[in-house]
């Protein structure tokens, strides 16, 4: 007989959208931290499992969340290693049910290198697609066992239509987007809820030094949109909201026109 978890180890989102535990994969991501801070303001003593590469950035993320009253547990995660995902999910699950998981890590990369250099291109694919896929499979397993659970996956508007200036990143995000969209369907009958987030340009450390695109947003706004979408049990959300309309138009532009756009 498997040892049964104690009451304290089992948790569930309540009717006012308050999780008791949060699992951040890519826990140093600006968006992941902003999501955690917002949940922390709803839930005093929120348990946060912060999975990231050990180091100074993770330490400061732990300090930041502890500072807003979270009960923070750091675990190691190497985005390019599938084994490391297994260990991280196991460590998070050992602390109790995973109410909300956020798959937030990602790499923008240098598009010109990525489409001309195999190592650079496959690195993007591993970090932005293979890793999240592994995370999704492992989290899906948890959801099926728990009978509940929210998985938030960070995609991008770049997933919706490839453009010359970042199509390798776009390709990897398109894979992730498709996978988590399908995972949401698969987990429906198991009580799971998967949210795919498609932000436009986010001013964050990932885009530091880049010229902001039109409709640029910031991690705080993305986090607000994530919480609102989880509350409403939505499966897709664009940030800012207007991006959805923009992408509908862009997706349907004939290629000769699209290619001439300054984006």
């Amino acid at each position: 007989m498997t040892p049964r978890p104690t009451l304290q180890e089992l948790t569930v989102l309540d009717a006012t959208g308050r999780p008791r535990s949060l699992f951040l994969l890519g826990g140093t991501s600006d968006i992941a931290l902003a999501v955690a801070e917002r949940y922390a303001s709803r839930v005093p003593g929120l348990r946060v499992v912060l999975a990231a590469r050990p180091g100074e950035r993770r330490d400061s993320a732990v300090t930041r969340l502890a500072g807003v009253g979270c009960d923070v547990h750091a675990v190691d995660l190497e985005a390019r290693s599938v084994d490391s995902h297994e260990d991280a999910v196991r460590a998070a699950a050992a602390l109790g049910d995973i109410d909300v998981a956020v798959v937030a890590y990602g790499l923008l990369g240098d598009n010109e290198r990525a489409w001309t250099d195999v190592a650079a291109g496959t690195e993007l694919a591993e970090v932005n697609f293979v890793g999240p896929l592994a995370a999704g499979i492992l989290l899906g397993e948890r959801v099926r066992e728990q009978g509940h659970g929210v998985v938030v996956a960070l995609s991008s508007v770049a997933a919706e239509r490839p453009r010359r200036s970042n199509f390798v990143y776009g390709a990897t995000k398109a894979g992730t987007d498709a996978f988590f969209t399908g995972l949401g369907e698969a987990l429906r009958e198991h009580g799971g809820h998967v949210l795919v987030v498609r932000p436009g340009f986010v001013r964050s450390k990932m885009t530091a030094g880049l010229e902001p695109a039109p409709l640029a947003t910031d991690p705080g706004r993305v986090a607000d949109a994530v919480l609102a979408a989880v509350d409403a049990r939505r499966e897709q959300v664009w940030v800012p909201g207007a991006m959805r309309g923009v992408m509908v138009v862009l997706r349907h532009l004939p290629r000769p026109v699209f290619r001439r756009l300054p984006i």
Binding site: T6, L10, V12, G147, H148, G191, A228, D231
Partner: protein, 466 residues
Amino acid sequence: MTATPLRGSRLDVTRRALTGWGRTAPTTADVVAVTGPDDVASLLAGLHAAGEAPARGVVARGLGRSYGDAAQNAGGLVLDMTGCARVLAIDVEGALVRVEAGVSLDTLIRTLLPLGMWLPVVPGTRQVTVGGAIAADVHGKNHHVAGSFGAHVLELDLVTADGRVRRLTPDGEDADAFWATVGGMGLTGVVVRATLACVPAETAYAVVRTERARDLDHLLELLAEDDPDPYSVAWFDALARGPRMGRAVLTRGRLARLDDLPARLAKRPSSLGGEGQGPAVPPVPYGLLNRATGRAFNELWFRKAPRRPSTDVEPLGAFFQPLDGVRDWNRVYGPRGFCQYQFVVPPAEVESFRRAVALIAASGHPSCLNVLKRMGPSGPGPLSFPAPGWTLAVDLPAEPGLHRLFAQLDELVLGAGGRVYLAKDARLSSGSVEAMYPRLAEFRAVRRMLDPEELFVSDLARRVLL
């Protein structure tokens, strides 16, 4: 959603998403429909003997009328009790009825009324099972005189985690187990049978006095009056602010005697003609209740009541369970669902009560079904909700920011020495529950004795660490 056989049993299990009546926070569980007390006993005994207790526990579920997560069990096993629903024996002379726990109060009342019998406590809906009514220790409009449901249970059969059927009585050897089960939210075991005391009812009607109260003070004054009628409840306007805050419609009543009925009703005094399920609300993509529609509803409801006090004869269902006339009324709130907040504060805490009404009215969260009444003494159940004082219930659409209003209300209720009703709750924290239910330790001790391995568990139990 295909059914698969449950290991070591002839029963089938279906994986299903479950919510409470408020339709918030769904979780998925393996649901097993049982057909009688023996199914429950053999299922639990089998699991116990094989040492194969489901990793995430078991809980019984009736008609799913708890508003929150009391009858759901994420990733675990849920016993659907609605097939364990026979009326086993009726003793008209002795005013007793013996039933299986999954029988609904609706079925039971339809069986009893033609025999001139009535239940001493009926809640605001008949669509609850007897097992559920015991587990939540429900109350009715006569709480101040009759106490809660558990006070009229003479005997119950509880299947515990070892699969044993224990016969419990309120003052027998196992009185502790009996009273922990009354109001125990299904966490002591599975109630499979119960014997209930009944009261006589000459007719299927009530004599109802309706009166408007112009504001909260007026209402409290009316409620404090000496009242010859056993049943009383007030609906109040939860959106009116300023001088009209707390304006209300107070209804008080008693069971009608034969000589109360007009001639046309007196011919068939126990006829259930006035009873029945009305139309159903279709699923709606968005909640229909917002500040504007809420305000309109509250205004209409107040104006519907006669200006001057009036007395009428009404079918019992119309007086006791008006909402049962509209099937699936919870769909009005749309896919996000709603939360009910019900609390009780001691009699002297009129000021806290007033502040709670003001907080709700000022919050901007619209509520239409706002109920207020006076409660009498508590029963012996350590986790039972009713307590002497003022109780208030509001139904609020689940929308952003609601947790802040609830946090304010929790603080107020705690400060006043009051408590929130677990059968209605979907969001309390464990710390608040601990403070609201000072006899929680007593409950836990009995639970540990009956179920040392915590087989019985629900999402509610996990959330507030019962």
